[in-house]
Subunit: 189 residues, 2 copies
DNA sequence: CTCGCTTATTCCTAACAGGAACACTAACCT
DNA sequence: AGGTTAGTGTTCCTGTTAGGAATAAGCGAG
């Protein structure tokens, strides 16, 4: 039984686990709660923010695998990356086949079924979507600004800022698309 | 106990259920297998394609709720929308609060952690992503072409074609973004 | 001091992903 | 004919993920 565990390092973990390791890879010592917050704040633009339940159970597993260290100062427990955790993460970065993006776009799904309802219902939905798009964009803008400060770690490239720029341009593109769709629907192609 | 069921029509179903009802709303009589195929072919660009297991168990539920009709000709069973199923779907289209898109972008996630590995590893990943993007784009192009033929249902707007155009422009945008990123990384901002 | 807010964790349930297993059909192929 | 291979159609099982309720301690304001 025990001998199998020695090779368990090469087993792949659920994506959530790597996302958490990734958040810890920036060096901070974080509680489950803080990890969830950071995920909600920055990660959510490119990856689904894991549920609270998921964060804690995943941390449990990562601790069992010695990929994170526990810093239990009384009631609250915080976590940091172990050297082995860092190795696992970089190995995953290099060796794991990278999947294709998956999108769950409720607006597109409904647009597809647009013939079921009146056009006003569709244009209304698109306008609501535009408004929310704008909110999200300003949120991401704030994140990018705050990254400018933190992102001063020397030698490498400023990847988090790059990704933020990518996200912003994504929002901009979607806005023009939706505006165009609105125009086409209102005038009849 | 029984009396509660009378109000169960207003209960909301999982998203997968609405996606399946949506696929059936185009009028065909489909088996679970065919539904899965259609989802893989067209739906996947805007919504996660449900797993086989999910399709069959969801159809089971929809049948229990009398939202789909079963056409059991021997060993294979096909399904079609009941009037009540159509009503449920249009009600959902109009009344359900529309959520914000969720993206799982493994390339963006890794780019965020780019400092962990050498730049060549990142540019390699981006180039792979470009290639796959191109494949997906041509798949979607085929879908759009085939829609031109089917999409001749009279009065309304050609929504499926609209959504396909949206998807194509999404791929085009992502391609230019990635190419720009590659250039910026290779030259050092 | 107690009301409400944030932090922090645990637990439960339903939804979803992924694929193995099984069975039947059809084409083709030597 | 018999055999192989590919596609159709369904069921079952396990692990992962989503979502939120419940709990509790700490902390600032009235």
């Amino acid at each position: 039984m025990g001998q199998d565990l020695s090779r368990d390092q090469s087993r792949h973990l659920p994506m959530t686990a790597y996302a958490l390791l990734g958040l810890l890879s920036f060096g901070d010592e974080l509680t489950g709660y803080e990890l969830k917050q950071r995920a909600d704040r920055t990660l959510r633009f490119y990856w689904v923010s894991p549920a609270m339940s998921q964060v804690y159970s995943e941390l449990e597993r990562l601790h069992d695998l010695a990929l994170v260290r526990r810093h239990g100062s009384g009631r609250t427990t915080s976590y940091s990356l172990t050297p082995m955790g860092r190795t696992t993460l970089t190995t995953w970065m290099r060796e794991t086949p990278v999947g294709f993006p998956v999108l769950k776009h409720p607006v597109a799904l409904r647009l597809l079924l647009g013939a079921l309802v009146d056009p006003e219902s569709i244009t209304g939905m698109l306008r609501d979507h535009l408004a929310r798009l704008e909110e999200e964009r300003t949120d991401l803008e704030k994140v990018r600004v705050s990254l400018r400060g933190v992102d001063r770690s020397g030698d490498g490239f400023r990847y988090p800022a790059l990704v933020a720029d990518w996200g912003l341009s994504y929002f901009d593109h979607e806005r023009t698309i939706i505006e165009d769709l609105l125009h086409r629907i209102e005038t009849g192609t």
